[in-house]
């Protein structure tokens, strides 16, 4: 199986308090922020690796995973890290975040999919910076491929399809999607038995989470292919559909107050908060 995984580099969500908005309000100031791969994309990569190997012999590849990111030269470290983790090949589409929106990324990915011809595209359900949750869905629509979003489980099936489990209120919905398809993944996909590939014994259980790359894999990643593609090569029209009118920091939370008893609490909820 050949799988394309899209990765995005995002500002570390654990440092959200460092995000600053300049007085002009026209952008988010990203200087001084630490970057890391979007966690959901790391889960997507882990799922793709599990689908293209025998879990008992993860060093021998039994399929191909191509990772792609849209970003400036520095984002190649994100791609190298993905190659160290196990991906076979990487593509960087040269662009900066302000030149992109979900629609344009999906259109460019469509061209890449046509070039690379993967059997499956696996993506994070959303990037934790903009939380747009759009690219996977738009891409499937543009390709006219089936889609399964928010996957908690993926099972490879012999008949050229995958069975995707999605957590919904009150249970799990299972979708059978014919390949080629687009699947976006949720956190649960990295649980020990969330991904089943026909190459791995049913009884095998992975360690929970995303695998770690040791030094030899990091060294080997330097020799794996990483190519650069211009955005304009992939999308003739690079105009954005989504434009941002204004950025504004959320209002600072006011300090709480202490009440002396339930009566005072009820009184305040009624008269001040007006929620009762």
């Amino acid at each position: 199986m050949k799988i394309l995984v899209a990765l995005k580099r995002v500002a570390d969500p654990d440092n959200a308090n460092k995000v600053k908005i300049p007085g002009s309000g026209d952008r988010v100031d990203t200087t001084g922020l630490e970057w890391k791969p979007n966690p959901f994309d790391e889960y997507a990569l882990e799922a793709a690796l599990r689908l293209t190997e025998n879990g008992q012999q993860p060093k021998t590849r039994a399929g191909e995973v191509v990772v792609v990111t849209f970003g400036p030269k520095e984002t190649e470290t994100t791609l190298r890290a993905a190659l160290a983790t196990g991906a076979d090949k990487a593509i960087r589409v040269d662009a900066t975040d302000d030149q992109l929106d979900g629609d344009l990324v999906a259109r460019a990915l469509k061209t890449l999919v046509e070039r690379e011809k993967p059997d499956l595209v696996v993506m994070g359900k959303q990037a934790v910076d903009g939380d747009s949750n759009q690219v996977g869905q738009i891409l499937a629509e543009l390709l006219d491929w089936p889609q399964a979003t928010f996957a908690a489980t993926i099972e490879e099936e012999a008949a050229g399809s995958v069975l995707v489990g999605r957590e919904v209120d009150g249970g799990v919905a299972k979708l059978r999607v014919k390949l080629p398809a687009v699947v976006t993944v949720d956190l649960r996909i990295v649980a020990g038995a969330s991904v089943y590939s026909t190459k791995t014994a049913r009884t095998f259980k992975y360690n929970e989470g995303v695998r770690f790359a040791a030094l030899p894999a990091i060294m080997a990643a330097k020799k794996k292919p990483l190519t650069e593609v211009k955005l304009a090569e992939l999308a003739a029209d690079t105009k954005l559909k989504v434009t941002y009118a204004k950025f504004q920091a959320p209002p600072a939370r006011k300090a709480g107050i202490k009440v002396k008893d339930v009566a005072e609490l009820v009184d305040k909820l009624q008269k001040e908060a007006k929620v009762l």
Binding site: T77, R80, A81, A84, A214, L215, A217, I218, K222
Partner: protein
């Protein structure tokens, strides 16, 4: 602010990122609880083995990950910075002093038998030099190993042994010959040998997540095949081991101090007194500036020491200086960090309180501050 050493490459950066992720998932959530419990789960060795962390600086033929001391430092620094448990980091790192003598002067059979299972995290290794009667004066150690056919019969005891409570084997300094350093040998003693006993699980000020043992040997029969290097030639590998151990310890000091510093900046910005944040007082800012300066100086010396070690220089002298410089620096920085945190800095829930307790070990372990000065005096040739 990056804490990377000047000569680090893109591989170090990638490795640091992996170590951070490991620490965030496997260590950080439990750091406080492990300190209170005075233990971390044995499973952590396996997880670190599987992630390739334990194998760093060991050859790939022995199941290692390759790399050198600089890679070990990069990983250990990130584990401290992100994991917040110095005890756990030194606990999973005890093989870093127990295995190198085997790798350096052991036979192929010994390497194959003892190294790979430890790097996989399946077995735990410890190093035992210090004895209840004295640690600084290594050449006077008293644990006897008498030859009896193809065995040594070992009797004596060892003190303050990191990971000793759970170790599967202990690289042990014993006396096979006459008095002085010419009578010292290294033996691998497996913990299931009859007569091997963890006589005491020691309670400590800091490094509490790691276990520390007093071990007694009562007529332990150890195969001669477990002799590391030549008989009565153990002193040199012990001393070589100390040089890298001191680099690791100086590196830990820099990492712990960096964490104290970061915690202090955050607290100084957030805590208010007299109507403004602590960082609004020049006194606080200057404290932080002094901390930053001391850290930078110790890091600079560490950097020089690692670079020289990697290019093959003998760093006995420089490693001793780097260790003393780093331990003094850490004692100062950790103390200032507690001071900036005020009463909270003295409370068990506060990270810098724990780091302050951890800090006190460094001028003692791996050769005391005074012994470092003895070494420096000797090598400078006064």
């Amino acid at each position: 602010m990056s804490s990377e050493l000047i000569f680090e490459t893109a591989e170090h950066t990638a490795l640091r990122e992996q170590a951070r992720r490991f620490a965030r998932t496997h260590i950080r959530p439990h750091a406080h609880a492990w300190d209170e419990a005075e233990e971390f789960p044995r499973e952590l060795y396996r997880a670190a083995g599987e992630a390739g962390i334990l194998g760093t600086s060991y050859p790939e033929e022995l199941g290692g990950s390759g790399g050198d001391v600089s890679h070990v430092h990069a990983i250990s620094e990130e584990l401290v910075l992100e994991g917040h448990s110095v005890g756990a980091v030194v606990g999973i790192g005890s093989h870093g002093i127990a295995l190198p003598p085997i790798v350096r002067v052991g036979t192929d059979a010994q390497k194959r038998k003892y190294v790979p299972p430890v790097l996989r995290g399946e077995k735990i290794a410890a190093l035992a030099i210090t004895e209840p009667g004295g640690g600084s004066d290594v050449a006077s150690l008293a644990t006897r190993a008498e030859r009896d056919g193809d065995h040594y019969v070992v009797t004596g005891s060892k003190m303050f042994i990191t990971s000793g409570c759970r170790a599967d084997f202990v690289t042990t300094a014993v006396r096979t010959g006459g008095p002085g350093h010419g009578g010292v040998s290294l033996l691998v003693i497996e913990s299931d040998t009859p007569g091997f006993q963890v006589s005491k699980r020691l309670k400590k000020t800091g490094w509490r997540a790691s276990d520390t043992a007093e071990i007694t040997f009562d007529r332990c029969r150890v195969p001669v095949a477990n002799l590391i290097g030549e008989e009565n030639q153990g002193f040199v590998p012990i001393m070589m081991n100390f040089a890298t151990e001191r680099i690791f310890l100086a590196g830990q000091c820099v990492a712990i101090a960096e964490l104290c510093y970061r915690e202090s900046i955050a607290y100084a910005r957030e805590r208010k007194a007299f109507g403004k944040p602590l960082s609004g007082f020049q006194v606080t800012r200057h404290k932080l500036a002094d901390m930053a300066t001391e850290i930078a100086a110790a890091r600079g010396l560490l950097e020089a020491c690692i670079a020289r070690h990697l290019r093959g220089d003998n760093v006995t002298n420089l490693a001793a200086k780097a260790k003393n410089c780093a331990t003094d620096m850490l004692m100062f920085v950790a103390d200032e960090a507690v001071q900036i945190h005020g009463g909270y800095g003295y409370m068990r829930e506060t990270l810098v309180e724990r780091l302050w307790r951890d800090a006190r070990l460094y001028p003692i372990g791996g050769g005391t501050r005074e012994i470092m000065n003895e070494l420096i005096s000797k090598t400078e040739g006064y």
